[in-house]
């Protein structure tokens, strides 16, 4: 059976006065039902841009989008990039749903929680408004909001951040979507609330057998919930594989650098952090060759200055493990254990 979502060579760029911003470039991945794919990257790496393109949420006048994002529905495949806006709109909320980073601002301040969930339900179901509210109470109950029947009448400002994110999840899932895109769902939340929400997402995924795309910058969160991960840098996927391989045998110097640079609450050695030097390139004038070259400690190991002249392909170096790097597997093994630079 085909995975539910197949993204192929998806590119999104925005023409601006300063030039073309290549926000995401040649992105391909798949997500199956019941599976969680994490898209990891720092700000400006293109992780949100990619998922908004899949959802058809970019303003088509402001963005140049190419490639495919195919939803394999029971009724047949639909490419959300080439399909008409009206067709894509009718997939939103029903076949694919999305939740956002800031639950504080993502709910309409003037409508009650119940109204907002019932509105989403009413789009794809026949029934009166009170049926919709009844359904909203069920959903709120499911996502763990106490006294759902009472709180359904309340307004977003009467809920805490964590509770609002639960409301967002309830609203996204009310039509039983097959794909849920969660864009930094816990970044704005406190750590104890974060673990509640992550657990809720896991439970909901099982309950609804959903494909989940988790967009985050937090490698800890990824390790916790994802089955597979794509690491993005400067608009491109630089590494993609099953989750354990990303952490134990990372195959790209950027991933290696990221893992080395984060302090860990479970390791008490007061070692100096191994920071990645420099900063990401501008998306308007990407360097020739590998975009990470300027910050990479290992590019000198690659002969003929290939990193500066040739964009590396996303190669499958080991089965199921892709990386966009000119280094050989033997060199990468050395890189993983090397101390690297201490900036």
């Amino acid at each position: 059976m085909k995975p539910f979502l197949e993204v192929k060579n998806l590119s999104v760029s925005f023409p601006t006065q300063d030039g073309l911003v290549k926000a995401s470039n040649d992105i391909s991945f798949t997500v199956a039902r019941g599976e969680t794919l994490a898209i990891v990257g720092e700000s400006g790496s293109g992780k949100s841009v990619t998922s908004l393109a899949v959802m058809g949420l970019h303003n088509r006048n402001a963005a140049d989008i190419s490639g495919e994002a195919i939803l394999n529905l029971e009724t047949g495949p639909i490419d959300t990039i080439s399909a008409s806006p009206e067709v894509v709109r009718k997939l939103r909320g029903k076949s694919m749903a999305m939740i956002f980073q800031d639950p504080m601002s993502a709910l309409h301040p003037y409508y009650s929680i119940g109204d907002q969930i019932a509105e989403a339900w009413g789009l794809y179901n026949k029934g009166s408004k009170s049926d919709g509210i009844k359904r909203a109470v069920e959903m709120l109950d499911l996502v763990g909001i106490p006294e759902a029947a009472k709180r359904v009448k309340e307004f977003p400002h009467q809920f805490s951040g964590g509770m609002r994110q639960r409301v967002m999840i309830a609203m996204a899932l009310v039509n039983n979507p097959s794909l849920l895109i969660a864009d930094e769902p816990t970044t704005a939340l406190d750590v104890t609330v974060q673990s509640q929400i992550l657990k809720l997402l896991k439970d909901m995924q099982q309950e609804f057998n959903m494909a989940v795309i988790l967009i985050t910058h937090d490698l800890g969160v990824v390790a916790e919930v994802a089955d597979r991960a794509c690491v993005m840098y400067a608009g491109k996927i630089v590494e993609q594989s099953a989750i354990d391989d990303i952490y134990y045998t990372p195959d790209h110097p950027y991933t290696i650098g990221l893992l080395n640079s984060i302090p860990r609450v479970d390791q008490l050695e007061g070692k100096r952090l191994l920071a990645i030097p420099g900063q990401p390139p501008s998306l308007i004038s990407l360097p020739r060759g590998c975009a990470f070259r300027g910050r990479c400690t290992f590019s000198r190991l690659v002969p003929n200055n290939r990193c500066a002249t040739e964009v590396p392909n996303l190669d499958e170096k080991i089965k199921g493990h892709f990386s966009r790097c000119h280094l050989t597997e033997a060199q990468l093994t050395v890189a993983r254990t090397s101390v690297g630079s201490r900036v």
């Binding site: 720092e42 700000s43 805490s160 951040g161 964590g162 509770m163 406190d190 750590v191 104890t192 609330v193 974060q194 673990s195 509640q196 992550l198 657990k199 910058h217 937090d218 490698l219 800890g220 969160v221 990824v222 390790a223 916790e224 989750i243 354990d244 952490y247 134990y248 650098g257 990221l258 893992l259 640079s261 984060i262 302090p263 860990r264 609450v265 479970d266 008490l268 007061g270 100096r272 952090l273 191994l274 920071a275 990645i276 030097p277 900063q279 990401p280 910050r295 201490r342 900036v343």
Partner: protein, 328 residues
Amino acid sequence: MTEPILKLVGLKKHFESTSGGFFNKKKGVVKAVDGIDLEILPGQTVGLVGESGCGKTTAGRTVLKLYEPTEGQIIFQGEDITHLSRKRMKPLRAQMQMIFQDPFASLNPRQTVGTLIGATFDIQGITPPGGVKKEVERLMERVGLNPEHVNRYPHEFSGGQRQRIGVARAIALKPKLIVADEPVSALDVSIQAQVVNLLDDLQEEFGLSYLFVAHDLSVVQHISDRVIVMYLGKVMEEADKKDLFMSPRHPYTKALLSAVPVPDPIKGRKRERIILVGDLPSPMNPPAGCVFNTRCWKVQDKCRTEIPALQQIAPNHRLACHFPEPAA
């Protein structure tokens, strides 16, 4: 024993809040900081952690007297500064500096980096040897900025660079104490490490003391020597880093630590996870007894009525809990 740079004794900061209209004013008191004791030794870093609304930021600002303390004492280098006037505080301000979370918001967008860093000297009326311009360039170089960019404006720098400007400004007068309020939480992961390392280096070089206020336990763990865990204005637990992270005794500390995701999938799957129920109560209306009792999984009747005192349970380890976890 060495004299601490900073000593807080029962420091409290309460805010009065008024609600309601013209005719009936309801007064409420938010006990943002409700009794902190702490000592920071020269060259030491004390981390202040907790979730939003726990009072850590207020505590940091009260230490620098950006807020007038409600109660308690602030002793800086042996001198009680709790009730010093603005004027008498001014020379001391050179000794105690602050680094803010949002480097962009804390830098005047209409001033060049050179002016911004140089202003610290003007305010104190100090002329560094070799002149202000030279010193500013030296500082920029020291924090990893290109001194040629001295005439650029804050918006021409990236987030990480702006935080370096903030650091340069803070160290310009060679202070003894720096209060760093979430200095890396607005930065990308790869940039965070650069700034953390910079802070580490500067500490070593100048013998600085840090009060490091942050919500990210991983960063606090990395940078601190001692750690204080706060919840709703109260100190829950305070210990040396190793004790606190290896054998947390307060249920809240334990839950907090277990909630931090670890970038290690196999370990993560095996980890015991304590998921706290519910949300933080409103600081306007904190629970009676132990403030943590509404979310604590070990709660008993006593916790709902009796406030646990912060007690010494081991050398350098203090705890406020009726039913602590066993030592590991």
